[in-house]
Amino acid sequence: MNEDLWAPHERGRATLFAALVMGAMLWPLRQHLRPAERRVDGFPLSYYPMFSKRRRQHANVVYAVGILADDSRRRLRHSVLGSGGLNQVRHQLYRVAITEDHPQQYADALAPRLAAHPSCADLVRVEIVRGEFDLDTCLLNHQVEGTETVLATADIPRDPAAPAAPGVDESAQRTPA
């Protein structure tokens, strides 16, 4: 075969494939024609919704706080709450606590797991809170402090014989493993 030549149908197949790939890549643009609440993101085809969100000076974040015996408070690291990285844990917590409105379920499932976590040995209670932050104040003062509203609270069982929260088992927890 002359190396300079295309194989039969090779060029046609390449053209079709390229058109399909580019069509698929641009297909998510149609999401912008839908009302915001009906837009659906996907993978690997996305319309990159994080850039369409309106960002205001005040922002709410839902997170978990550990309470010590002396009532002092410590924000819990994402890796203690679940796997998959900070953003995945944050999304999952938001989904359970806000979208599904079950913050207590999250706290109840989290508490026994914190009991088993070495870095949380000093905690007596866990709270799921919604913090409201003034972004300018936080960033300009280099201090991330906001107004917290407690959405749910759960005591951390310290008795080794204490059972895990109802409905929670190691393989299917309401918080990520």
């Binding site: 993101d41 690997p44 924000r75 953003n87 300009l140």
Partner: protein, 292 residues
């Protein structure tokens, strides 16, 4: 060979080396995340929100099956990088990678940084990307094929798909209700701020650069305008090779800028591999040969 034909041709080694680079990157990326993936697939099934091809599932597959698929992806990644059995491995690897990364993104959070990698792999898997710089070529002991358009279109398509990613990001910014106001930089500045606050409340740390730059509003107008030009003007990068390379270098710089200011790592882009298709990477092979 006519000048037009030359302009739409590429050496097989260029496409082969791009395949090896993308495969090599994927291998390191997945191997370093093997443990994490094993944990992610054991997340509460209630968190399952399938995306991409995984939407075919109503509920997660049993964790051992997910583990096996992850490991199979690692194996095909290695073979893909080596260019072994490419006619079979190429499409199989792109299917498995799409599945594995979609499955990883099916737990209530989509990581958009992997989009380009999946599409690039799909293109490489469907093309003759192992005619050179591959185990297949080595075993066949055939001479290196002449430059041909069949080695050029996959590279162009990879570049076009990268361009689409940036274009879509740019459109998303200006398609909001307040439209072009994104260019003022307030949204970008606040996006960086909220990202920093989230990091702090989840026990990580906001980038020191975010704190340092936050007071300089004009700088964010500059960043926002610059990124919008690079994103909405992305299709222009396909007009000429030099222009394309300039764009690719600018995107590369933009991702490193995001890393410094927001602490967000777009690993594929920051590694430079995402932009390899814009360059005559086969020259690296000649350079290596000469220095040997």
């Amino acid at each position: 060979m006519s000048s037009v034909r030359r302009a739409v041709s590429a050496p097989a080694a260029r496409l082969g080396l791009v395949r090896a680079l993308v495969g090599g990157y994927t291998l390191v990326y997945l191997a370093r995340r093997r443990k994490m993936l094993r944990k992610v697939v054991r997340t509460d099934p209630a968190m399952f929100e399938p995306v991409g091809p995984v939407r075919a599932l109503r509920r997660p597959v049993p964790p051992p099956v997910a583990d096996a698929l992850n490991d199979a992806t690692l194996v095909t990644t290695a073979l893909f990088a080596l260019g072994a059995g490419h006619r079979l491995i190429g499409p199989l690897h792109s299917a498995l990678l799409s599945w594995t990364l979609s499955y990883r993104n099916s737990w209530s959070m989509i990581f958009h940084s992997d989009n380009a990698l999946v599409v690039h792999t799909l293109v490489l898997g469907a093309s003759r990307a192992a005619d050179a710089v591959s185990a297949d070529a080595l075993l066949a002991r055939r001479p290196q094929p002449a430059a041909h358009p069949r080695y050029h279109w996959p590279l162009r398509l990879m570049n076009a798909s990268s361009t689409a990613v940036y274009l879509l990001s740019g459109v998303s910014k200006v398609a909001r209700a307040d439209g072009w106001s994104w260019v003022r930089g307030d949204s970008l500045r606040r996006q960086i701020a909220i990202d920093g606050v989230r990091k702090e409340v989840f026990g990580s740390h906001a980038s020191p650069t975010a704190y340092a730059l936050y007071r300089h509003k004009a700088l964010f107008t500059l960043f926002a305008a610059g990124s919008l030009i690079l994103e909405l003007g992305a299709p222009l990068s396909l007009l000429g090779r030099r222009f394309g390379r300039l764009w690719a270098v600018s995107w590369f710089g933009m991702h490193w800028g995001i890393r410094v200011i927001m602490g967000i790592k777009f690993r594929y882009q920051m590694s430079g591999v995402a932009f390899a298709a814009w360059f005559d990477v086969e020259r690296l092979l000649e350079l290596a040969r000469r220095t040997r």
